[in-house]
């Protein structure tokens, strides 16, 4: 299946008072149409920055290297106007907190139609019709009435549905969802995930789902990429990666999840130490200070991401967890 989006060697450096700091340190991945591509990792691992780079939403002074081929064009080399045509129309984004990602003083209808009219040139009536249809698709009751309402009149879950409707308004081929369920109740989460799943099946929408919640990953992502300190440490089909993690970090993340059936006094496992700040990343494999399987060369050689079978890629030469048949 030909990839819709192919990212190679993406490296993002951001300006700080002390100079440029590399936040994303060379990542590769492919996303196919209709596929849910999951990016997991802790805060500061660079997940959000890497997708912002795709949309050209980085602050002034950011330096981006690598390529991101979408539809035969390199997203990272597009000029401003071309980028604007891609944003919202070909690739759309849903943000984490629907309370703050919807404009509090504009009606839902306006927020749905303004880019519709801008990108597709629809008339006001046509745009409103499409907006109402969109709201129905994301299961907002009384779609027509909702068009004239304001975000604060809706619950969190409904607002996120509206945000999804806004993102999908122009019929994009890829949707980036940055922690779309993190700010929502667990019960509401499931509804949003089901919605995303249905939508992507309907229109072959590629979804890049960023979340630190492995449970969410396992339920919706076809493909999982685990990031640490700006690099990909492991990636592959979700079931494989989560079922049998091979990178010590992935294993650590999974082990840290409390087991629902473990006895009460089982201590919570955590990975010792903390992720390094972008300014202070260790040499060699960035995870090595916290890794119990680290050997001498881990502090010096940056591991490459290589194909290791069962569709998986791994950035760990030690590969301590592989199960040999």
């Amino acid at each position: 299946m030909k990839a819709l989006l192919a990212v190679r060697g993406l490296r993002v450096s951001l300006p700080t008072a002390t100079g440029l700091v590399t936040v994303v340190d060379g990542i590769d991945y492919d996303v196919g149409p209709g596929e849910v591509f999951g990016m997991a990792g802790e805060s500061g691992s660079g997940k959000t920055i890497s997708v912002l780079a795709l949309l050209g939403l980085l602050p002034d002074g950011a330096v981006v290297e690598g390529t991101a081929m979408f539809d035969g064009r390199d997203l990272l080399r597009l000029d401003r106007r071309a980028m604007r045509d891609v944003r919202g129309k070909e690739i759309a984004m849903v943000f984490q907190d629907p309370l703050t990602s919807l404009h509090p003083m504009m009606t839902i209808g306006r927020q749905l139609t303004e880019h519709l009219r801008f990108h597709l040139g629809l008339s006001r009536a046509a745009a409103n019709a499409r907006a109402a249809t969109l709201l129905e698709e994301v299961r907002i009751p009384d779609a027509l009435g909702a068009l004239g309402a304001y975000p604060h009149q809706f619950s969190g879950g409904m607002r996120q549905r509206i945000a999804i409707a806004i993102a999908l308004a122009c019929g994009p081929r890829a949707l980036i969802a940055d922690e779309p369920t993190t700010a929502l109740d667990v019960t509401v989460q499931a509804g949003i995930l089901r919605l995303l799943d249905r939508l992507r099946r309907q229109s072959h929408l590629a979804v890049i789902m960023i979340t630190h919640d492995l449970g969410v990953m396992s339920s919706i992502a076809d493909w999982l990429t685990v990031m640490y300190a700006g690099r990909v440490v492991e990636s592959g089909p979700t079931a494989n990666v989560l079922g049998a993690p091979r990178h010590p970090y992935t294993a650590g993340l999974l082990a840290a999840l409390p087991h629902p059936e473990a006895p009460e006094d089982t201590p919570l496992v955590s990975i010792a130490g903390a992720p390094p700040s972008p300014q202070a990343r260790p040499g060699g494999c960035p995870f090595h200070p916290r890794c119990k399987y680290a050997i001498g060369s881990c502090a010096m050689d940056v591991p490459d991401l290589i194909l290791v079978g069962d569709g998986r890629r791994l950035a760990c030469p030690v590969d301590p967890l592989v199960v040999h048949a």
């Binding site: 984490q96 404009h103 801008f118 109402a132 304001y150 604060h152």
Partner: protein
Amino acid sequence: MTSPASAANRQLVPGRRLRLPSRNFLRFLGRRLAALVLLGLGITFVAFVLTELVPGDPAAANLGQRAIGDPAAVRAFREHYGLDKPLPIQYGLYLQHLASGDLGESEQSHRPVRTDLSEFVPATAELALTSILIALALGITLGVIAAVRRNTLTDQVLRVISLGGISMPTFWLGLVALYVFFFQLGWVPGSSRLDPGLLPAHHVTGLYTIDALLAGQLDVFGDALHHLILPACVLAAYNVGLLTRFTRSSVLEVINNDYVQAARAKGLPERTVILRHVLRAALPPIITVGGLAFANVMTGTVLVESIFSWPGIGQYAFHSATTLDLPAIMGVSLFVAVVYIVVNFLVDVLYGVVDPRIRVT
């Protein structure tokens, strides 16, 4: 999903019922209205106390020469104001007079203060409105620029300019502006509202510019505008400084919000993002400054109208102050204060109109 036919059959008016004012907002407005009335009473009390503080015999001061030769007039005066009665009754009489619109009689013009005021209000209204419009246009624009170009040289320059605006003595600015632009450069006329040869258009609002437009007399309109421009700009200076600062901080509060980034992610051009998304969200706090801006303009008119020979209530207040015409001073103060609290109330209403979170449940 739905067929195109059914889609076309639907009424496509976004729901109106969800946009009616909430009861909370109406209750809030009701409270503000009550506060307005109470405040109105309070300021009458202040004005009354101040008039009582004046040393000397009000009858003698007010009637001047007549007081000596005409005891009947003195008696009538004392009767009217209840000067022989206890203070609370005097206050009651005072309120009664106010309710019927009687603000006393000017010692200078010997006309009712109310008549004087009604003659001079339109001129000041025209000046004040123009000045506020200029200040809003310039101040908000500069504030947005300063915010968008934050921490660049432009921003620092604008900071100094805005500080300069609020540091300037308005009366001095008026003097210097008049000297430079009228006396030296001759770009604008130096006084009054129209050239001596022109007559104002038919009186509809009392604002020469509007009336001229309504009557289609473009030459009068042009001349009135020509006379208006310098004093309006002088009056606007302080408010431009104030609004630039306020707009800047308000925009900065808003510009990092997620919904701004979300708007960019929709592919909207940056100008639309700034003007439609950022500015709208930044507007409510700026509106609250509106009342303050009005007070500043009022302050300015008192100081500046006489310099430009502008026949408004500011000049009236100035002359009353210099001649110590107490009824006139008190009358003007009361009038301006009442207008001010009404303006503040309107600002509250406007705030709710602009921010739907307050207005709608």
